[in-house]
Structure formats: C-alpha cells, structure tokens
Symmetry: C2
C-alpha cells in the first residue's frame, strides 16, 4: 500500500517576510519546531526559514530575516507518495517539505521526523 503525504502532513508554523529574526526564533521554540514557512498575506509560499538558518545568522552575525530566508523552496503535494517526498528530502539534504496547492497556497508541512515515525510503526 502506498502511503501519501496526506497521511503525515500537519499544520505549518508560518511567518511574514518583514518579521524580526528573534520573533521567528521565539515561534520555533514556542511550537517546538525547526521549520517556519514564510508566506504572504494570502498564505502563499514566499520561502522557508529553519533553526539551521537562525544558527547561520548566529555564526555569521546576521540580524535581518530577509538575509536568511531560503527562497527556492522544494515542496510537495497532498497526493504525492511518501516515498517520493522522502527521496526529495534526501536528494536536497533537507528535513522538511511545505505542502502546497496549485495556487502556491501553503496547506501544511511534512518533516523527516514525521516520515521516520512511519518506520517505527511499519515493521
């Protein structure tokens, strides 16, 4: 049986482009997540910021959010097989994929943690 992204997707924590790095860092801590999806006022995808990017800001003394947002985002769809999503993460060495619809609206997010959980259940 093929498992689809639909069965592991969960709500994404989001932020706007003009927010402060410290605010975004607080949001990651308060929600205990490593990924914040950057959206516009219509919840359309604009980029992604992770705890790795915040770490990079610390390592390089950067303070502006726009300096650390990743713009070219690798994404997935609600009906994509988990196997394909997992291969994308491995190919690009990333640990999360925002789930988008045809109009680039963010529906949720899938992380390598979500997928690893499946392996704990499958066998």
């Amino acid at each position: 049986e093929t498992i689809l992204v639909r069965s592991v997707v969960h709500p994404a924590i989001t932020c706007l482009e003009d927010e402060d790095v410290k605010e975004v860092a607080k949001r990651m801590i308060n929600h205990s997540v490593n990924h914040v999806v950057v959206v516009d006022q219509q919840c359309k995808l604009r980029g992604i910021v992770t705890s790795w990017d915040v770490t990079k800001a610390v390592a390089e003394g950067k303070t502006e959010l726009t300096e650390i947002i990743t713009r070219k985002v690798i994404t997935t769809r609600i009906d994509e097989p988990i196997e394909a999503a997992s291969r994308k993460m491995s190919q690009y060495q990333i640990s999360a994929l925002p789930v988008i619809d045809d109009e680039y609206r963010v529906l949720g997010i899938v992380t390598s943690e979500d997928i690893a959980k499946l392996l704990g259940r499958k066998q």
Copy 2:
C-alpha cells in the same frame, strides 16, 4: 529483515563543554548538520546541542554554551533495530540519537533524516 542502527550511523560532529556558542554554530553550518554532540577529552558523552538550542539562545538572549546544552541525552546502540531507535525519537520528539558504547564513548549519530532516507529506498 531487521535493519540495525549499524547500517545508518554516521560520524558525529562534536564539541567540548567550554566552547563558545558562535563556534559551535559555525561548526553546524560548516558541516551542514543540526546536531553537535558534547563530549569530554576521552570522547565520552556529556550532552547534545542542536540548531534548535542555538535558536532558543537567540529567542531568550542567552550567550553561554552551558546554558543551552541538553544533559539528559536519549541514545542508541550500534546493534539496536532502526524501528526501536525511530520509536524513541518519536516518543521524545527529537530528531537524532548519539550512538554510544558500554563506556559512554560516542561512536556516531543517527538522525531522523537518515531514517527517512530508508523509506525512500524500501518501497
């Protein structure tokens, strides 16, 4: 067939307890990892620091490494089944397990990214 931690473990990036947060942040960025295992001079486990902890330091204005090191570390063994390791990560909501031997020496690390990759290959 049961897959063991042995088949996905890889070398851990480590640091000492008295290092600077910025140095540890640079190490994460230079090695493109989210986890640094804190060890003593004999490479024995003392704690773990992740990009999430560095993000917490930013959110809370902390500057000392010892303020952000997690001391009670969930670990795994080289011959533990991947399924058990994955269940531990899910249970504690963490994304990596240092691999240790009987004398608490750090042999490597397993991440949820490593385990998610298996799913991309298995089906």
